[in-house]
């Protein structure tokens, strides 16, 4: 293991050490990885110079999964084992998947999330996504020449908690440290806004392969403030392919198709859709598995007619977001198009007509999300140049709690800026009631049954009182990642209960560990090494952070004894890390915690200094009066 460098007090080893951080666009159709190099975001390519990695994974018995172009090329021959658009299944049950019958997969209903039956066994969408992420991670590490310190991974803004959690789990499984889950339209706005130094109200219309997202942002000198977001998590470019596919089945009078032919025609439909962007008419012709040749002529007119209803569907979330932001369409300063599907000519016409202005298309709609994610990753890693950017995002869906009669009481409404916290008081329903069950849900509907269930927990030990006498305060806290934690407290006695909301769809740590060690005989040993490695990373992180903070303003904010006390703890932890004893997991955790505690007062003074800094630059109204 590498020796840890310890700087003399006041001379931090590497205050501006550049950390390798990437942005990953884990798309329905294609995925990309990007990073910031010498101040400029750029997409990383594979050895053949290609930026896009098709989000396609093919599983073979007893072998390594194929990912990307190779897998996509054989999708038609091996449709059951070649998983296309896996993002549509993340955090979803079979019942959630529209059109499951038309897909060439064998779905298995599993608790929480659907599984897919392949030649390599039953796989969760999380595992399939992890295989895609692993390839991107490898590409980045080869290209950048070192281990990644972290990644920002983008998700559709309209993804709910289960889908976000599934994405985070996939990243962990692929060995990535997630710096932040970033909403795709927000990422696009960052790339676009910084590139063009824009100011004002901007909309991002993002039609991906499987999801539609729409966000409205206010851009002011490097601050990106999301005002409203909306979307449709079950509408995307794939649906336009399926519309062509349905039309083909109809005019060719094809009754039942096997999986190979379904995949073949879906692929031909996609190619035809893409060709119609450049030409008015295209021919679809192919040979089905039985040897029959089929062909059809598809014109733009027919295609537009077929897909008009889908296109129209995208504008209802657009109108909702404008209403939520309290804006009229005339107040919008620019519209950014994101996603390959926004190349369709009739879509551009429709967007232009709605917003009364031409959309902005000067950044590649396929790359803009990854570029924005890279910029945010660079900022979060603490690299130079990151401090001009500030992102204020919102939660896309309301968070609530079930009340009497199966109704949802909203605690945090959609489009609230995060981080945020809200509290609400509840009371008991029966005389002598000593426990209370809380059911946390997400969604806009009034009936709990029509919202997504996130978690349930119980507050016990409420003293027996008459109905309605107890006062139970339920507090929702959403952090900057959009992840929720809930606590409940009986006000008169202080009885408390707390839960980190881990959706029923999320994987437990044990499940992640077992996936990581699947097929390995000494699983326990592996688990221990993994825990140790995580503790080492954490200790290292804290050492870096403390040293940097001490160098920055330790002299100013600490007395000599305080300064010495912290340095003693720094040396303790550094020494323990250097020894690298694999039996010292518990001791390492404890020493890390000790340093953490020792820096509490220092951290508080640093925050106070930040506040004074923010306040000193400002004109105080009360002075000028």
């Amino acid at each position: 293991m590498a020796l840890l460098q310890i700087a003399e007090p006041g001379q931090s080893a590497a205050p501006h050490q550049h950390r390798l951080a990437v942005g990953i666009d884990l798309g329905t159709t294609n995925s990309l990885v990007a990073t910031v190099r010498s101040g400029t975001p750029e997409v990383l390519t594979d050895t053949a110079g290609r930026a896009l990695l098709p989000s396609v994974v093919r599983y073979v018995p007893e072998g390594v999964a194929e990912v990307g172009w190779e897998a996509r090329a054989v999708a038609v021959q091996d449709p059951h084992n070649t998983i296309v658009s896996v993002k549509r299944f993340m955090g979803r049950g079979v019942a959630d998947i529209a059109d499951a019958a038309n897909m060439p997969y064998q779905f298995i209903e599993a608790p929480g999330m659907v599984k897919l039956k392949t030649a390599a066994g039953e796989l969760s969408p999380v595992e399939v996504s992890a295989d895609i992420l692993r390839v991107l991670r490898q590409r980045a590490e080869e290209s950048m020449g070192g281990e990644l310190s972290g990644a920002v991974i983008t998700v559709p803004a309209y993804f709910d908690d289960a889908q976000r959690q599934a994405t985070k789990d996939a990243a962990r499984l692929a060995g990535l440290t997630v710096l932040r889950l970033l909403n795709e339209p927000t990422a696009a706005a960052i790339a676009y806004g910084l590139d063009n130094a824009s100011e004002g109200i901007y909309c991002v219309y993002d039609l991906g392969g499987g999801t539609f997202d729409f966000s409205i942002l206010r851009l002011t000198r490097g601050v990106f403030e999301v005002l409203a977001t909306s979307g449709d998590s079950a509408l995307g470019g794939d649906d336009f392919d399926r519309a062509i596919y349905g039309w083909l089945i109809g005019i060719l009078k094809l009754a039942t198709l096997n999986a190979e032919d379904t995949r073949l025609l879906l692929t031909e439909a996609r190619i035809a859709k893409e060709r119609l962007t450049d030409v008015p008419v295209t021919e679809i012709s192919c040979v089905l598995s039985g040897g029959t040749s089929v062909s059809a002529i598809l014109s733009r007119e027919i295609f537009f007619e077929l897909t008009r209803p889908m296109l129209a569907r995208t504008f209802s979330p657009v109108r909702r977001a404008l209403r939520d932001a309290g804006l009229q369409v005339e107040e919008v300063d620019g519209v950014v198009l994101v996603g390959g599907a926004t190349r369709m000519p009739h879509l551009r016409v429709a967007v232009t007509e709605f917003f009364l202005r031409e959309p902005l298309i000067n950044l590649d709609p396929d790359k803009v999300v990854a570029l924005g994610a890279a910029i945010q990753a660079n900022a979060l890693a603490g690299n130079r140049g990151g401090d001009e950017l500030l992102l204020l995002d919102v939660i896309p869906l309301s968070l609530g709690i079930e009340t009497m009669g199966g109704l949802s009481e909203k605690i945090i409404p959609r489009n609230s800026t995060i981080p945020t916290a809200r509290a609400q008081d509840f009371t008991t329903f029966k005389d002598g009631q000593t426990a209370m069950n809380f059911h946390v849900v997400q969604g806009e509907r009034e009936l709990v049954s029509e919202c997504r269930s996130l978690a349930s927990f119980e507050l016990r030990g409420i003293p027996a009182m008459v109905a309605g006498a107890a006062r139970i305060r339920v507090t929702f806290q959403v952090d900057a990642d959009g992840l929720l934690s809930v606590s409940a407290r009986e006000q008169t006695t202080g009885v408390e209960s707390h839960i980190e909301v881990k959706p029923s769809y999320g994987l437990t740590d044990a499940e992640i560990a077992s996936m990581l060690t699947a097929g390995v005989s000494n699983a326990d040993q592996d688990k221990h090494m993994r825990a140790l490695r995580e503790a080492q990373v954490e200790a290292r992180r804290l050492l870096d952070a403390t040293e940097a903070a001490m160098a920055e303003d330790g002299h100013e904010l600490l007395s000599k004894p305080e300064w010495d006390a912290i340095w003693i703890k720094i040396y303790d932890l550094a020494e323990m890390l250097m020894l690298g004893d694999s039996n010292s997991l518990e001791a390492l955790r404890q020493t890390t915690e000790t340093l953490n505690t020792a820096t509490g007062v220092f951290a508080a003074r640093r925050m106070d200094a930040s506040i004074s800094r923010a306040l000193s630059g400002k004109q105080i109204e009360s002075i000028s009066v």
Partner: protein, 171 residues
């Protein structure tokens, strides 16, 4: 660490009539220093504090931006939370009429009618804002203000109802 008086926090005088652009600027300046993203590579304690402080800023910003909650803050600062805020029976009758009009437009599926109601409501709310300014900034009449705040909340609910109806007709 941060004052819980939101007006002080954002460098504003405790008045109902505030300069929204000053509020926005102060908010952005404070978030630029305190947001968790600014402390992503800090110690655990620092990150925890950043989360708390940033939460306070977001909540304060939201409270002052909206007329009803801003007025409520002033009523709280004056220690007049107990002021009688009951709305009049006539007001409640008016609410019934609004509800019926919204329901009628929704049932008939007339988007234009809902849009018209929405405009009328916005106008009503801006009149109400003027009333609040007069009650709080000129007369210091906290009872009248508390009543207006309560009425404002009814209007807020109507606004949500109209938006939901529009959304429903749109899908």
């Amino acid at each position: 660490m941060l004052t819980q008086n939101y007006f002080e926090l954002f460098g504003l005088l405790p008045r109902f009539t505030i300069d929204l652009s000053t509020l926005e600027q102060s908010f952005r300046r404070l978030q630029s220093e305190l947001h968790p993203d600014r402390h992503a590579s800090g110690t655990d304690s620092e990150r925890r504090m950043a989360l708390q402080l940033s939460t306070t800023l977001n909540d304060g910003y939201r409270a002052l931006r909206h007329p009803a909650s801003r007025a409520q803050c002033l009523i709280g600062l004056a220690g007049k939370e107990d002021a009688n805020a009951a709305v009049s029976p006539a007001f409640l009758m008016g609410q019934m009429e609004w509800r019926e009009a919204i329901e009628e437009a929704r049932a008939a599926g007339i988007t234009d009618a809902l849009e018209a109601l929405s405009r009328r409501l916005r106008h009503r709310m801006s009149m109400h804002e003027k009333d609040l300014a007069a009650a709080l900034d000129e007369r210091g009449d906290f009872e009248a203000a508390a009543q207006r705040v309560n009425e404002f909340r009814f209007y807020e609910k109507l606004r949500v109802e109209i938006d939901d109806a529009l959304d429903q007709l749109d899908n």
